[in-house]
Amino acid sequence: MYTEQVTERFKKPRFMGEIQEADSTGEVGNVRCGDIMRVSIKVKDDRIADIKFKTYGCVAAIVSSDYLCELVKGKTLEEAENVTSKDVIERMGEVPAIKTHCSVLAQDALRKAIKDYRKKCD
């Protein structure tokens, strides 16, 4: 059901964890629906200097979180906000159709983190 690429990334995610003294974190999802994602970011010169995730959920949820981190690291906050779930899925390669909703959540968590960060800066 999952491609080799997704399985390989699932075995060795690169961005798992939590940034100590993060500039902002965003969390979405709930246990009832089966997915929770938390993204923490470190911002420097308006760019995402570092990003890590923690995810409760299926393989697609974990792998899409990891790919999102990879996609946005080094980008400006505005660029990062504009990364879509479609971009994440494209990076993941093929995912089962019923799993596409999982990769929306990682992006929602990131947007929440950026929004909170801006609020803090204002």
Partner: protein
């Protein structure tokens, strides 16, 4: 990487002796049991012998056995066939919330046709209350269908007691014994209709049977040549049926059950040593001898089984993420309305071929998997 197969409630490996007899009836003797030539007679003889073996295993007469394409068809035939045949008596069916999908969806299909269906609750270990059954019986109740041993959490119902209640009220009783057949006693004393199949006991896929007590009217679901005493049309799957009978002969051995029970308890005890784990279903004699179902807090089942799969270990989960409907297991949700428990559940089902070494390798892999996924989980700190 060597496969460790712990998903024997999904299906099993076919026993080599079963394959041998099936090969013979595929390639050497392959007649249609309805043909009058010698090849046809050979097929008919083999079919009759297989039928006797299966009938004997249940304490039934040969003509009380209807061969089908498997458990799903047998359950459909039992439920719809009985409800359609007894419409003059009533249109009420009673079943439970923890049935296999083929029973639940037969119930839903009947509801769409105007039948009335009651789905009984179960307790926290998956048991149906005899009192609740009795309370829900009505004048127009035709049939009660209750799964013998649950396929997910392994709960074995007190089927004799439930059946006796139905008998007292002159209501027919059906049980789906696909998981329990050859693993815990099931006889014609315990039900008017019994569903069994082959591929859960090292027989072939695509073969099952329904026991129907003599004198019980049943409406066939398929129109055709009137095979199986006009109750199930379609050329008999002779190689499959002969393989089924062989699998039953090989499977009816208390030594297998004792071995599986000991391994099951070892597995359960060892897994429960992992912190934040919980057994789903009962312990001891009332649990299917090959089933261990455990919920792991803070992590999700599909991730667990996929991580085990990367190490060659096959298991299954009741998590929503692994289902086509994205709904958590209806069985786990029936024992407790706790989605985390359902999402974090993993089912390990062993067979007579399973070894302690395989379980030890599984336990090592499982501990590492749980540890890794809990480190990724936002629900655990640190």
């Amino acid at each position: 990487m060597k496969t460790i197969y712990l998903d024997n409630s999904a299906t099993t490996k076919v026993d080599p002796e079963v394959m041998d007899v099936m090969d013979y009836y595929h390639g050497q003797t392959y007649g249609n049991a309805s043909s009058i030539h010698h090849e046809g007679k050979n097929a008919k003889k083999a079919l009759g012998e297989a039928r006797s073996i299966i009938a004997n295993s249940l304490g039934a007469n040969d003509d009380e056995i209807i061969f089908t394409s498997g458990g799903t068809e047998a359950n459909n035939l039992a439920i719809k066939g009985m409800m359609y045949a007894n419409e003059d008596k009533g249109r009420h069916l009673i079943t439970t919330k923890i049935e296999h999908d083929c029973v639940l969806n037969s119930g839903k299909a009947l509801e769409a046709e105007g039948f009335d269906v009651t789905y009984l609750d179960v307790d926290s270990e998956g048991f149906v209350s005899p009192e609740a059954l009795e309370k829900n019986l009505r004048e127009d109740t035709v049939l009660v269908s209750i799964i013998h041993a649950n396929n997910e959490i392994g709960t074995i119902q007190d089927i004799q007691r439930l059946s006796n209640i139905c008998k007292q009220h002159d209501v027919l009783f059906h049980t789906d014994a696909c998981q329990s057949y050859t693993k815990t006693p099931i006889t014609t004393e315990m039900a008017d209709l019994i569903t069994i199949n082959a591929h859960k006991l090292h027989g072939p896929k695509g073969v099952g049977a329904l026991y129907v007590k003599q004198g019980t009217a049943i409406k066939p679901l398929l129109d055709g040549g009137g095979h199986e005493r006009k109750r199930r049309s379609g050329t008999e799957n002779v190689p499959g049926i002969v393989g089924f009978a062989k699998a039953v002969e090989l499977g009816m051995d208390e030594a297998h059950v004792n071995k599986m029970q000991a391994l099951r308890d070892y597995l359960i005890d060892e897994i429960l040593k992992i912190p934040h784990t919980r057994l789903n279903g009962p312990r001891g004699e009332q649990r299917l001898c090959n089933n261990a179902n455990i919920s792991f807090r803070f992590i999700e089942g599909e991730s667990i089984i996929m991580n085990l799969d990367t190490q060659g270990i096959c298991t299954s989960t009741g998590s929503a993420c692994s289902s086509q409907t994205l709904e958590p297991s209806h069985v786990l949700m029936a024992i407790e309305d706790d989605p985390e428990r359902a999402h974090g559940s993993v089912r390990f089902t062993i067979s007579r071929y399973t070894t302690k070494e395989e379980l030890d390798r599984t336990l090592t892999a499982l501990k590492a998997t749980v540890d890794k996924l809990r480190r990724i989980s936002p629900l655990t700190e640190g």
